[in-house]
């Protein structure tokens, strides 16, 4: 279909950057979906300013979306860019550093006027700069103008017409990477079908962008990335928050419970609410509370009533929920508390990622108040960990925390659809009506040290729960010193014993060697890729990625001790490292970054190599 050369490559990393009003996130999502549908493995990294409409044209207002699509299995959105599309000078200057030498740079020339230079605080047109022209393959395209021409017959106002330019850019990018227009045409129909003129204009812009690539002399070749060799199955592209929501819905089905979700909007957790509220036909009830305290408390109320109850927030909201979470653990009621972490402290970096709430999750409540914590490692893994969290919660009658982060929440990857009937059931038994004369013991414990989940409406089991210390078994208020110690210990043991029932920690590579890289959460992909590269280079490096953070898998201590050195890369100042060192007395080394950005594979490789024997001075 094209008369130009098509070059076959194994993978492409492209970043689309423009003003936050330019529709870059939409462009990126579409490119991701289309690439996933083409069978590539994909990984994405959206990066946008905290302000909804940051000042136009400024560096602070730049919104970017990075996607890597590849023939091989990949775990990160890529370090250096093969191609960069920029809509204005601010986008160019803030992103060019990541474009590899010789990479493709496509610039919307219409966005490079004197006014735009001022806004971006650049003296002259960067497109004229020799370094730019010498270092990259620069394509200057009058996107705004071409878009206007393409949509002129649809009678839109210039403002609306200009908004179509991201579709023009999309068309051009699709041509360049041999992507099909069909999925995006379907998207336009679904999204703008009710406004036929807008739909027609967007379609025209998309096709014009494609045609521009095809006909203009400028582009000598386009690129083709073949389908990845993934495990057989049916796939879809999925984002982390969506996968969490679906995992919760699945968990509710598997446990035959309806789902109550109490929350208060906060970035980057809100999309879980948006997603869940679409699924009321699964028996999902969403409660947008007046604040996070109300959200978690309503969740506890629902749990007391026998419902599957979930609350979610990000760091600042989790801080507000702390007192109630302590109550939840005293009441010994099952529920799930999700923290989609972002840059902290306080309001911090609301749209940027960080892993700095681990210690808050471990210790951020008054008194002795341990809670189980799990952490998904990727967008798709959110589905499994949501189910896992609920399974632990009901097995142990305890709130379970899920630590996700902004990187996982907004990132996406191909996800192999599970067979619903192959997901294992979550058994819940509520005690049945009691004998009138037999006293009910609400804090009698089973082999997991869990108490019965007796729910209101059941005859003969009337009981009162509360935050005051309870007498062993009867649950009556008790200030007895020995009883308090017993109860504190029992609750702690209950959580600690989970270690016996979760999988042992697995390792990528040998189970002993020179260096073990230990990671958790959203840094999985970058750490795994870095370790594999080092392994390929012949180093005795292994990777352990922890998904169960409290309690830790039972073999972790031995594992740490089987390596000469342990490196713990984290997007914080060393929180898991502190836990590992204090628990296992192993002198873990930290590699820490708090810049609101994920790790790049290359910086991890550098960090790993620094601690390999050859690099150690004699």
């Amino acid at each position: 279909m094209t008369n130009k050369d098509v070059k076959s490559v194994t993978g492409i990393t492209v970043r689309l950057a423009g003003d936050s009003g330019d529709g870059m996130q939409l462009l990126g999502t579409q490119l991701t979906n289309t690439s996933a549908l083409a069978g590539n493995d994909v990984a994405t990294f959206p990066d946008f300013p905290a302000e909804i409409r940051a000042p136009r044209g400024t560096r602070a207002g730049v919104s970017g979306f990075q996607v890597q699509f590849a023939k091989e299995e990949i775990f990160t959105p890529g370090d250096t860019l093969d191609a960069l599309v920029v809509m204005n000078p601010a986008a160019l200057v803030t992103n060019i550093g990541d474009l590899r030498k010789g990479g493709i740079l496509i610039a919307n020339e219409d966005g490079f006027t004197e006014k735009d230079f001022k806004l971006a605080k650049v003296d002259a047109n960067p497109l004229e700069a020799t370094v730019i022209n010498d270092s990259y393959r620069l394509f200057r395209v009058n996107m705004t103008d071409l878009t206007r021409k393409a949509v002129s017959e649809h009678g839109l106002s210039p403002k609306v017409a200009d908004r179509c330019k991201n579709f023009f850019a999309m068309g051009l990018v699709y041509w360049l990477f041999g992507r099909s227009l069909d999925p995006t045409l379907r998207f336009i129909e679904a999204k703008f079908g009710k406004k036929p003129d807008v739909a027609a204009a967007n379609e025209a812009a998309l096709r014009a962008g494609w045609a521009y690539g095809e006909t203009t002399e400028a582009f000598g070749e386009s690129y083709q990335v073949e389908a990845a060799e993934l495990e057989p199955g049916t796939y879809r592209n999925i984002m982390g928050n969506q996968a969490l929501a679906w995992g919760l819905v699945a968990a509710s089905k598997l446990s035959n419970k309806e789902l109550f979700y109490g929350t208060y909007p906060i970035t980057p957790a809100s999309d879980i609410l948006h997603e869940l509220t679409k699924h009321k036909n699964f028996g999902v009830r969403t409660f947008q509370a007046e604040d996070e305290i109300a959200a978690v408390c309503a969740t506890i109320g629902a749990a007391f009533g026998g419902t599957m109850a979930v609350t979610a927030s990000s760091g600042p909201g989790i801080a507000l929920k702390a007192e109630a979470m302590g109550l939840g653990m005293m009441l010994e009621l099952p529920m799930v508390v999700i923290n989609v972490q972002r840059g902290g402290p306080s309001t911090g970096l609301p749209t940027k990622t960080e892993q700095s709430d681990l210690l808050q999750s471990m210790f951020g409540r008054n008194g002795e108040s341990p809670l189980p914590i799990v952490a998904p490692r990727s967008p798709g893994d959110c589905f499994d960990m949501a189910i896992e969290a609920w399974r632990i919660a009901v097995e142990c009658m305890v709130p379970v925390m899920i630590l996700s982060d902004g990187y996982i929440a907004n990132g996406s990857e191909p996800w192999k659809l599970p067979e619903p009937n192959e997901l294992s059931e979550i058994k819940i038994e509520h005690p049945e009506a009691g004998e009138p004369d037999e006293p009910f013991l609400p804090y009698l414990r089973d082999e997991n040290l869990s108490r019965p989940w007796a729910i209101p409406g059941t005859e003969g089991l009337m009981h009162r729960v509360g935050g005051l210390e309870k007498q062993h078994e009867t649950g009556n208020v008790s200030y007895d010193p020995a009883n308090h110690q017993l109860m504190v210990q029992t609750r702690a043991n209950k959580v600690a014993n989970i270690a016996q029932r979760i999988p042992e920690q697995d390792v990528v590579g040998e189970t002993s060697g020179d260096l073990l890289v230990v990671s958790w959460g959203g840094t999985y992909g970058a750490c795994l890729t870095a370790v594999r590269r080092c392994q390929e280079a012949g180093h005795r490096v292994s990777h352990a990625h922890i998904r169960y953070l409290n309690p830790l898998p039972r073999n972790i201590g031995d594992l740490l001790k089987s390596f000469d050195r342990v490196l713990v890369p984290e997007l914080n100042t060393g929180q898991l490292r502190m836990l590992l060192r204090s628990e296992y007395l192993v002198d873990c080394i930290g590699f820490n970054k708090v810049q609101g950005k994920p790790f790049s594979v290359s910086e991890l490789i550098e960090a790993i190599e620094k601690h390999l024997p050859s690099a150690v001075p004699a």
Binding site: F260, K280, R285, E290, A294, I300, G301, L423, P456, L461
Partner: protein, 336 residues
């Protein structure tokens, strides 16, 4: 099946009640236990949820389901419970500090949502459990442990707040006025939607007699006007005084001087809360204070009904949720 006939004693738990001797809380507990058998709701379908404070120990003393939660948040626990278990009768027990200080936000929101539950707010105008600091309802100028030179906060009227939040049931009663209290609690239970009952409760340890003007039988007639729907507002030992509306003010009049037709007729059903708000603002000593039901408007959708209706509607429109259909919604591709 006939329901067993329950007595007040059947609602008592096996726990010792541990309020200070003479505390007004005892009387409220006694009236609650007396009223519950009349409501015909089984014990196991009844839930008491409280915050923190002396009054909030209440659930421990009831042989029903109960939760003693955290300070100020009881309405939110109750909302989550009721939204998922509309079959239960839910009571919220709270104090003036609990409901109006730390819990002020939730207090407003539970009322505006009109969750079908009953709030009983024990108002002793002091913090009892923390031993005597002033509360949001403490009178201006009052000396307490935390206000040695007198309180400089303007006190808050829970009834005014409730009316401003468009509460559908708003009432007041008095611990010592047991028959009246029983009547009001019963009316609250019968109301569909959030009902708020403020109860003047004597804390004889830290604020003894703060509301004696209303609690003591001898003074009550002069200082309190008992509201009854459709009846004129009259009070006084011999019902010799009345209240009329002049312009947009309420005025106390001698009935000997004013024809009864001029007196304000109480309308608890008026959807417009303006006059009910005027009643809520009457304060001793300038005015007699109203007790009884200020407002009881019916047929306002409740939060619990609506949240559950939406689930039913979604199921009717789209069928019971199916995981397979969910997973395959949108674009998918197959790898062989």
């Amino acid at each position: 099946m006939t329901l067993p006939i329950l007595k007040a004693a059947d609602f008592a738990s096996d726990q010792d009640v541990r309020w200070c001797p003479g505390c007004g809380d005892y009387s409220i507990l006694a009236q609650m236990k007396k009223v519950l058998p009349d409501l015909g709701v089984p014990r196991e379908k009844t839930v008491f949820i409280s915050g923190i404070g002396c009054s909030s120990r209440f659930p421990y003393y009831m042989n029903t389901y109960g939760m003693h939660s955290i300070h100020g948040r009881a309405p939110t626990f109750a909302t989550g419970l009721k939204a998922t278990r509309p079959d239960l009768m839910v009571w919220v027990i709270t104090g003036d500090g609990d409901a109006l200080s730390i819990g002020g936000n939730h207090f407003i929101h539970v009322l505006r949502r009109n969750v079908d539950l009953n709030i009983v707010l024990f108002n002793n105008r002091i913090y009892g459990l923390t031993k005597g600091q002033y509360s949001p309802t403490t009178s201006e100028g009052q000396v307490t442990k935390s206000t040695p030179m007198g309180s400089i906060d303007h006190p808050l009227s829970p009834l005014s707040v409730a009316l401003a939040a468009e509460a559908t049931f708003v009432a007041r009663s008095i611990d010592a006025h047991v028959k009246h209290l029983g009547m009001v609690l019963k009316r609250a239970a019968e109301h569909k939607g959030t009902s708020l009952v403020e109860v003047y409760q004597n804390c004889n340890v830290f604020n003894d007699g703060a509301m004696a003007y209303a609690q003591e039988r001898k003074q009550r007639a002069e200082n309190v006007v008992e509201l009854e729907h459709g009846k004129p507002l009259v009070f006084g030992k011999d019902s010799e005084k009345g209240i009329r509306l002049v312009g947009n003010h309420l005025q106390v009049v001698e009935r000997s001087e004013v024809p009864d037709d001029d007196l304000l007729i109480h309308d608890e059903k008026d959807p417009n809360p303006s006059i009910q708000m005027m009643l809520a603002r009457m304060r001793y000593p300038e005015m007699p204070e109203p007790i009884g039901v200020l407002r009881d408007v019916q047929n306002i959708a409740t939060y619990d009904d609506q949240i559950n209706d939406q689930v039913t509607q979604a199921r009717q429109a789209r069928g019971e949720g199916d995981l397979q259909a969910l997973f395959t919604s949108g674009d998918t591709w197959v790898v062989d």
